[in-house]
Amino acid sequence: MIELHPLHQFTVRPLIPITVGGWDISFTNSALFMVLTTLLIIVVGLVSVRSRALVPTRLQAATELLYEFIADMVKTNIGNKGREYTPYIFSLFLFILFGNCLGMIPYGFTFTSHLIVTFALAGIVLTVVTIIGFKRHGLHFFRLFYPKGAPIYITPLLIPVEILSYLSRVVSLSVRLFANMTAGHAMLKIFSSFVVILAGSFLLPLAILPFFISVAVTGFEFLVALLQAYVFTILTCIYLNDAINLH
């Protein structure tokens, strides 16, 4: 019997079981794809700029395009003060982008489809942004929660709401990426299972319809993979801008 449940594709399976003092730190399929993503980014980056030609070859031009896309995003959203954070934004963008795209390969595993992974990424963003804000502005950082021009009597209501919305950025960032990836792959599994079910019954000619929809949804999933990496990165740039240039 073929596996038809839409959510079973997201199970994390240990490939090399390792137990240290009661803690299970096995090398799982999720970890394998994270390692593959990092290796792919490093290999593509190193090989494409190996010749360091002044007039770039096509692969070098593509990598330079990726870098300039991020450098331009950082310069537009944060200004010159934020240029030193470009490596972090670049790594974040490429990790999520290559991770999402590697998950589109058949039998590939999308490690961003787990809430704990995206929560870790968003938690790191929040920690980094808060520490940068405190380091640059000291205690003046709390001015972020008091928008200029608000009447003084509304402050007891406004400040907790602002703090709550600041903390909820982690939730929104992580759930957006997780839900997009999980919903997309679950939908792909559901439509492919329709094809299999219809093909196994007497309605065989009708099986072509869910197949066309599967093709369209796969194309849409590639778009969503790119778009979600872009949205995660640009929201990180906006939050960094909030911390560095306090409004």
Binding site: V175, R176, L227, Y230, V231, I234
Partner: protein, 74 residues
Amino acid sequence: MDMAAAKMIGAGLAMFALLGVGIGLGNIFSSLISSIARNPSAKNDIFPIGMIGFALTESIALLAFVVAMIILFK
């Protein structure tokens, strides 16, 4: 009522959130199209903002989908 039937009904009811999402997405793209029609040279500036708006609105739809999955399969 049967537990499995209640789960199905709950998952179906969770999809009502898509009504608001559909209206919101239509709003975003309608204003994107009319602003590009007014000023075609602004396309490269406005298009990324349109994509951010699309992704943020779509995430509400996926929150509804996640709730439906939790109801159905938990």
